[in-house]
């Protein structure tokens, strides 16, 4: 198909905007894996749940999603912390399939409880800036998407600095690398597990807030993002949050380009094929940090 430069640049931009959301969700997921060593199959459902938090705060209190972000972020952090304390900690260090079943069960419960309580209809958050468009070199950019791209970048940077520079960040990274050594260094490993689970879950709050400004919410929101975020974290190298950040951007772009050049229906197929190829040929992820499996 013919592809000239302006169209390509436009697609690239849409892809990066989409990818930024994948990056956010995946950074949380891979942060949890990096520390707690659990792939959280319920991650997408926490994303969906935070979407509903954003929606209800907007619907009842009339607060703009970006203003309610700190509230939703803290709420999700607490939810993640409690979930770890009540359920996840019981399966840490257990065989893979036990951990997988636990989070799979959790996913079924959350998603379907939401359907029971709030029905399956899609819901929309209408912000004042929802219809704003910016003209840039003959291309109209929807303002909410541009805004969410920048907020996503800002959050990713903040998370990176937090993990790199603060005491808690160092403790999280240290626990991920070697829980026993971290324990010997006086780190309360169990607390760090809960903290990183909470932090990983609350990345969803940011993603959901940004998504809600242009994307309909439904109980299936999590399920629709789940597979793609799994691909992202493996491409980035399981547990490597910067890898996940970059892989998210790449995958968003690949998805949009596939949809335009091949078929919108193959949008998901091509990333999945890439995923399997990477697993076979370079299982430590695109960015080559060796991981003990």
């Amino acid at each position: 198909m013919h592809l000239d430069l302006p169209i390509f640049l436009n697609l690239l931009m849409i892809g990066l905007f989409q990818g930024a959301i994948y990056s956010l969700i995946s950074m949380g997921l891979t942060l949890i894996f990096g520390t707690v060593k659990i792939v959280n199959f319920a991650h997408g459902d926490f994303l969906m749940l935070s979407g509903y938090f954003v929606f209800w705060i907007w619907a009842i209190l009339g607060l703009d999603p970006l203003i309610s972000l700190p509230i939703v972020f803290s709420a999700l952090f607490c939810l993640g912390y409690v979930t770890e304390r009540v359920l996840i900690k019981r399966v840490i260090g257990r065989p893979t399939h036990i951990q997988m079943l636990m989070t799979l069960g959790l996913s079924l419960v959350i998603q379907n409880l939401v359907i029971v309580f709030w029905k399956a209809d899609p819901r929309y958050v209408h912000t004042v800036y929802a219809d704003l468009r910016l003209e840039l070199g003959g291309v109209a950019i929807p303002f909410p998407r541009l805004l969410s791209f920048f907020v996503a970048m800002l959050f990713a940077l903040t998370l990176h600095l937090f993990l790199l520079k603060t005491t808690y960040g160092t403790a999280i990274r240290g626990t991920g690398q070697d829980p026993e050594a971290a324990h010997l260094m006086g780190i309360n490993v169990n607390k760090i597990y809960a903290l990183s689970f909470g932090l990983g879950i609350s990345c969803n709050a940011v993603a959901a807030t940004l998504l809600s400004t242009y994307f309909p919410l439904s109980p299936f929101l999590g399920a629709s993002f789940m597979v793609i975020t799994f691909i992202v974290i493996v491409l980035g190298g399981l547990g490597n949050y910067m890898g996940a950040f970059i892989a998210g951007l790449i995958l968003g772009t690949i998805e949009v380009l596939t949809a335009y050049m091949l078929s919108p229906l193959l949008r998901q197929t091509i990333p999945l094929v890439i995923f399997i190829l990477v697993l076979l040929l370079k299982p430590e992820g695109l960015f080559g940090r060796k991981l003990h499996r």
Partner: protein
């Protein structure tokens, strides 16, 4: 010999199932059909787990079986019975083609689980966008009068029970045969410690492939049976992730890696879920229960009903006639 009593128990169990259609209402028969189907599918799934890690992508084999049968019948008029055989051939060769590189490159743990999920999702997205498979519309069967050749029964669903019992016997027989022979020992040696198994001369790659191929073949029969029962299939009901979860759930509840586990799991869980469905009328409450059951099993009986009972009491061990697994060094190949 122990084989005698357990064979008697199975005989009693299967003949009881066959009597139910003559005395029960049509709702009970339908529930019974799903009990049988999921017991069979879960048995098929657990055969793959005899030798390797958990798969959450069995929906791919289920869907391949369902689609092969449905497409051959609706497009070419070929009897579902031949379609089932074609489905077995397609899904087991597909399983081998996918699993060979996966096992050869040593994909393990979460990487394996995510790969199985990805494969099933690739199938689903392709079937959703492919004209031959009817895209999202799926495949609708023409309704014909009751006929064994066309594998359609409308006046009474009882024949589905009898055919279901036949394939369930096939599944249980296969699982039992594997367990009782050297193949089963080689499978469990491969699963428990691949390096040690290799060091005593077991070709672990070949054994893992064998297990997956048998499992895929049986799963595709279940898919074909499902298609013939519902007479309508689409990618989202026959290849989505929840199909894989439904397939593995009875085994997880009953006891993974045991022959009885999937049967017990399915005959406990399926009626429970249907009763809840009928009692509450909710479309999704049974899914909440399904999730809660998984969490409860993981927390309190991670080895399932059979596994936990036989671990904690000698009586349980006797009932389920489980002998402690022999050391893998006894297996030579």
């Amino acid at each position: 010999m122990k084989l005698g009593t357990s064979a008697l128990v199975y005989l009693l169990f299967f003949s009881t199932i066959c009597v139910i259609p003559f005395i029960a209402s049509s709702v009970v028969i339908d529930i019974l059909i799903f009990c049988i189907l999921y017991a069979f599918l879960s048995t098929a799934w657990t055969i793959a787990v005899y030798a390797g890690p958990y798969s959450i992508g069995h929906a791919a084999y289920f869907g391949l079986g369902a689609y092969s049968t449905a497409l051959l019948y609706t497009r070419l008029g070929i009897s579902p019975w031949i379609g089932i055989l074609v489905g077995i051939a397609i899904s087991s060769s597909f399983a081998l083609a996918i699993s060979y590189p996966v096992f050869r490159y040593g994909i393990k743990g979460y990487y394996y689980t995510l790969t199985t999920l990805a494969v099933a999702e690739i199938m689903r997205t392709i079937f959703l966008s492919w004209d031959i498979t009817g895209r999202a519309v799926g495949v609708w069967y023409p309704i014909v009068p009751d006929s064994l050749w066309h594998f359609q029964f409308h006046t009474s669903h009882a024949p589905y029970v009898f055919i279901g019992v036949a394939i369930l016997i096939l599944g249980v027989f296969t699982a039992n045969a594997i367990k009782k022979t050297r193949l089963g020992l080689a499978f469990s040696a491969t699963r428990d410690d691949e390096d040690t198994a290799q060091s005593v001369g077991i070709n672990t790659l070949r054994h893992k492939l064998t297990a997956v191929a048998i499992s895929a073949a049986l799963t595709s029969i279940g898919g074909a049976f499902f298609a013939q029962y519902t007479l309508f299939i689409e990618p989202d009901t026959s290849m989505a992730m929840f199909v894989s979860v439904d397939i593995l759930l009875p085994a997880v509840v009953g006891g993974v890696g045991t022959v009885l586990g999937p049967l017990i799991g399915s005959f406990l869980l399926t009626p429970l879920i249907w009763i809840l469905r009928i009692a509450f009328g909710s479309e999704v409450l049974h899914l909440v229960i399904r999730g809660a059951v998984i969490i409860i099993v993981v927390l309190f009986a991670p080895e399932g009903i059979v596994g936990t009972l036989s671990k904690h009491s000698s009586a349980g061990r006797k009932i389920f006639s489980i002998t402690p697994s022999k050391p893998s060094s006894h297996v030579r190949h």
